[in-house]
Symmetry: C2
Subunit: 333 residues, 2 copies
DNA sequence: CTGAAAGCGCTTACAG
DNA sequence: CTGAAAGCGCTTACAG
C-alpha cells in the first residue's frame, strides 16, 4: 500500500492524502473523511524511509546505552526518558554491547534518524579520539569528558576518586586496618583507576600504605567477577577485615565467596559496594554503598543537552554528588 | 555529503560510486581507488533512508523485548543474538516498556526495517487480537501462543503450570503443610494464573486445600513487589513455613521481609524462586528455584523462526523443559 | 481546497 | 567498465 494507491482509491491526489495523514494544510471535511476511510480499510501506514528521506529534519534525542545488565543505568534511563519527553522530544534508546564502539553506533544513528542530540551512557571514552567528528550536541553520562576537549561534548559524572576516598575513610574510621579492594582492570577501566587513586589517597592521608599487588584484585563488574576477585584477594591477603568492591554486584559476589569460605559479613569481614542499585537494599545484609544519584545524573544530562540544542551553549562538565549509604554489611573491627 | 557530490568530485558518475560503495558490479581498479579516496576524505556515509527506500528488501531479525530489568531475558537475548548471527542474519533488538504495546511496535519496525521475522520476548498476548495483521513469521518467547491460532505466530515457552506444581510437590515432600504463594496479579498475568493453577493441582493431589484468599498475595514482579507481597502474606497467614515466589527477585525481596520480621530463611521459613537467574546463585542463602532453560528458549525460538522464514513451515508451539534447582533457601520442616 | 510536479539520495537494469 | 535515467514513496511550494 502506497500513498498513490490510497489517492487513486479515494479519488483525491497524493498531496491531499499527505495533508490528511500529517494533519497540515487545509483539507475539506469531506475529503478528510473519505481518505481516512480508505486508509483505515487498508490499515495503511506511510513508508517511514520515504518520509525521512524527504523531510530531512531532526528527530528526537538518541541514548546509546553500553551494556544491558546494569541496574544503575536502568534507573537512569527511566528518569531520562521522562525528562526528555517532558521537554517535548522523542526518546530513542539504543542498547549496545559492553565492548561495542559507541561512536560508530552514534554515526549510524545520526545517518538514520538524525537526532537533535545524543546521550552516551556508560562510555569509557576510548572511542572518542581525534577523528571524532560528530557535530551535534552530546553528553557523556557517568564519565568525566573534560579532558576530551570537544566543543560539543558535555559530561555528567560522579567524582569517583573522592567517593572512593570517602568510603575508605569510613572504613578506616571504623577501625579497619587491613582493607582489600576489588574492581575492574585499572588499565582498561577509568572508573576503576580513579577509584583506586581515591582509596590510595585516603591511605596516604592516614599514613598507611596501599600496595596494589597485595591489596587489590580485579575482575569483571559482575556477580561472578566479584566472587572470583574476592577469592583471589583473600588468598593473597588472608588477614583482611574489610573489602571495598567497586560495584554492588561485585560486593554481593564477594559476600557469597566469603560465606563459602566460612566467613560472615559483617561479623568477620565488612564489605562495601558502589552504585546504590535497588538490590543493595534487599540483600541480607543490606549493603553499605556509595549511592550514585541516578535522578540527578539523568536530569542534569538531559538539561545540559537540551540547553545545548536549543541555545547552543558550550560543553560543560558537571560533577554530581555521591552519598554514602550505610547498610548492614559493615561493622567496627 | 551525497553520492552526487562524491561522483562529481571524483569525476565519475553516481552509478559507479554506488557500485564501489556496495562492492557489486564491475569497476576498474583506478575508479575504485579514486572514489574511495574521495569517500574517505569526506568521511562520506550513504543515506540509509534513501537506500532502504530504493532497495525495499528484507533486513535482519527484530527482537522486541518487553521490560528492561529482567535478568532471565538478558541471558536469553545474549544467546539469541549469537544464534541469529550464526545463521547469517542481523540481530536487531528493540526494548520497550513493560506496559507498551508490542504489536504496535512490531508494525512500526516492519515499516521501518522490514525484517524477515520478529521475536517477541515477554509478551503477555493481550495485544495479539483479531486484527493482528502482521504476516511475516514471528515467535513469542516465554508464553504459549497456541490459543491465538495464528498461522504465522509460533511460541516457545515453559510449562508454567507443571513447573509450579512440581515445586509445590517438592515443598510438600519436605514436610511443609502451610505454604504461601506470592506472584503477579492472576487476572492480568497469564504466567501467574498458570502457576497458581499448578500449585493448586499439587495441593489437590495431596488432598489439601489451597485458598487463594489466605494463601496468596500478589505484587509486581520485582524486589519491592516480593518484599511487599511477603509482608501481606505473613499478615494473613502467620503460621506459614514456606513461600513459593513466582520470580527470583520476588523471592529475594521476600527473604528480606522475613529477615526484618525476625524470621530466618530457611531455618524458620523456606522460600523458593522462579526463573533461575544468575543472582539466585549468589545470594545467601542461594535460592531453590525453577531454572528456565535460557539456552534452549533462545535456541529453539531462533531455529523455529528461521525455519519458518526459509522454508515457510507452519507455526509450532513448543514447551521447553524446566529444572528444579535446589539451593539453600529450603529445608525440612 | 486541491492537484501536478519537483525532488529528497539512493540503486539498478540498460545501453554503449 | 561506465553513465544517464528511471523510480522507490513520500512532502511541499506553487498554481489554480
Amino acid at each position: 500500500m502506497t500513498i498513490k494507491e490510497i489517492a487513486s482509491e479515494s479519488g483525491y491526489g497524493v498531496g491531499t492524502v499527505s495533508r490528511v495523514i500529517n494533519n497540515n494544510g487545509s483539507v475539506s471535511d469531506k475529503a478528510r473523511a473519505r481518505i481516512m476511510k480508505v486508509i483505515e480499510e487498508h490499515n495503511y501506514q506511510p513508508n517511514e524511509n520515504a518520509k525521512r528521506l524527504k523531510i530531512q529534519s531532526h528527530y528526537g534525542i538518541a541514548v546509546i546505552v553500553k551494556g544491558r545488565s546494569n541496574a544503575l543505568f536502568e534507573s537512569v534511563i527511566e528518569r531520562m526518558h521522562q525528562a526528555v519527553q517532558t521537554k517535548g522530544y522523542q526518546f530513542i534508546p539504543y542498547y549496545i554491547d559492553q565492548d561495542d564502539n559507541e561512536v560508530e553506533k552514534a554515526r549510524e544513528i545520526l545517518n538514520e534518524r538524525n537526532p537533535y542530540g545524543i546521550i552516551f551512557l556508560g562510555s569509557n571514552l576510548e572511542f572518542f579520539n581525534k577523528d571524532y567528528n560528530i557535530s551535534i550536541p552530546s553528553v557523556i553520562v557517568t564519565a568525566d569528558a573534560s579532558e576530551l576537549n570537544l566543543k560539543n561534548v558535555s559530561s555528567v559524572s560522579v567524582d569517583d576518586l573522592r567517593a572512593a576516598s570517602f568510603m575508605t575513610d569510613y572504613l578506616l574510621d571504623l577501625g579497619h586496618k587491613n582493607i582489600g579492594v576489588i574492581g575492574g582492570n585499572p588499565d582498561l577501566s577509568r572508573p576503576s583507576s580513579m577509584r583506586l587513586i581515591g582509596v590510595n589517597s585516603s591511605f596516604i592521608k592516614h599514613r598507611m600504605n596501599f600496595d596494589v599487588n597485595k591489596n587489590y584484585a580485579y575482575g569483571r563488574f559482575s556477580l561472578r567477577g566479584g566472587y572470583m576477585a574476592a577469592r583471589d584477594l583473600i588468598k593473597k591477603f588472608p588477614d583482611l577485615t574489610a573489602i571495598i568492591a567497586m560495584s554492588d554486584l561485585m560486593a554481593i559476589g564477594a559476600i557469597r565467596a566469603l560465606n563459602e569460605l566460612g566467613k560472615k559479613c559483617p561479623e568477620d569481614i565488612s564489605v562495601t559496594g558502589f552504585d546504590g542499585i535497588e538490590i543493595a537494599d534487599y540483600t541480607v545484609p543490606g549493603l553499605t554503598t556509595i549511592r550514585q544519584d541516578a535522578d540527578r545524573l539523568a536530569l542534569r544530562s538531559v538539561e545540559i543537552l537540551i540547553n545545548s540544542i536549543e541555545n547552543g551553549t558550550e560543553a560543560v562538565h558537571e560533577i554530581v554528588p555521591y552519598i554514602l549509604k550505610t547498610g548492614e554489611s559493615t561493622g567496627k573491627v
